[in-house]
């Protein structure tokens, strides 16, 4: 599968590496050249394409090969940029699989109802944190008693 990932932050970079390990052809797009520099999150062993460009610019998307892409993921920090890029991918370039990260739960709901596939980290993280809090402490984790023994 040919995948374009917009946004090379922690999540974008992690996803890029995971997809490449699964044998997919990955292009990562970020508007900041520094995202691909030594302080960026992409490891040196990533062999996919790194491209500087604005994901809400149709020319930049074309340049990144969106016309041949099987999937498009937007994972920048900006909800608005993410949903706009995904809508362009879906409605202008007819990319078959499009997924957008949307932090704001309300915006996520709106765009999901408009037919966009969305992931809302806010709700997912809150739920996971709540579940972790509600769980009994595992016996392996060091409690006050355990500390006395060591």
């Amino acid at each position: 599968m040919k995948v374009i990932i917009m946004g090379c932050g922690r999540v974008g970079a992690e996803l890029a590496v995971m997809l490449e390990q699964d044998g997919h052809e990955v292009t990562v797009l970020d508007s900041e050249p520094a995202a691909f520099g030594p302080l960026g999150y992409l490891p040196g062993e990533f062999h996919g394409i790194r491209m500087v460009g604005n994901g809400i610019d149709q020319d930049a998307l074309r340049h990144a090969g969106i016309e041949q892409a099987d999937a498009f993921v937007s994972a920048t920090r900006g909800d608005n940029r993410n949903v706009m890029a995904c809508q362009i991918a879906k409605h202008v370039f007819n990319v078959p699989r499009v997924v957008s990260r949307v932090f704001d739960p309300i915006r996520e709901e709106i765009y999901r109802s408009l037919g966009l596939r969305t992931i809302n980290p806010t709700r997912i993280q809150a739920r996971l944190l709540k579940e972790a809090l509600e769980k009994e402490e595992e016996p392996v984790s060091a409690g006050p008693g355990a500390r006395e023994e060591t």
Partner: protein, 229 residues
Amino acid sequence: MYIIVVGAGKVGYYLARELVEEQHEVLVIEQDPAKCASISEELGEIVMQGDGCEASTLEQAGVGRCDMIIAVTGDDEDNLVVCQVARHRFHVPRTVARVNNPKNEEIFRTLGIDTTVSATSVIMAHIEQELPSHPLIPLMTLKGGGLEIVEVKVPAESFVVGKPIRDILLPHQSLISLIIDTEGHPRIPTSETVIHAGDEVVAVTMRESEAALRLALTSSRGMGPPGPS
């Protein structure tokens, strides 16, 4: 009308001022406190500080009863989201977005924004207006139905010069709605109005009839024999 303007840059400021002068109820939403302060100082308490993309901000602004929302920030993605949130969550009847990158106009329309305004396109149209090779200038696209408002400058050699409108054969579903003479005076034509060389004709037409309309008004041979249209 109750109109919400999102973005208090230069466009937002002057727009709000004009709308207030025209007696509309206006609320400007702006994130930057300094811009908010200068608006409230000059135009009164018609500004609210906040993010116009946030549903809660829009709700506080009374978006549910607003007749129109106009998003004029410098970022296309923000303008798009403001309009989509207003439309899909709050059912605002009319959404208008400023488009900074003219290539986004088409996608905004596809995504249901009622009206898009692109300064770049307007300036380009004015440049094209000066070029004889582009005698037809699209002024505005009306949503739905593929209707456009266009402007055509009638050249001296045109077949229609000296003819009353009733004798001009126009393409299907085209209508001459305004004529601006060489001195800049606009008039609403009747069937008796005679076209002069150099007149700027503003017409409503179907997108696919554009080329035929241009030919009808600029060609030295017209569209064919004059007859009832």
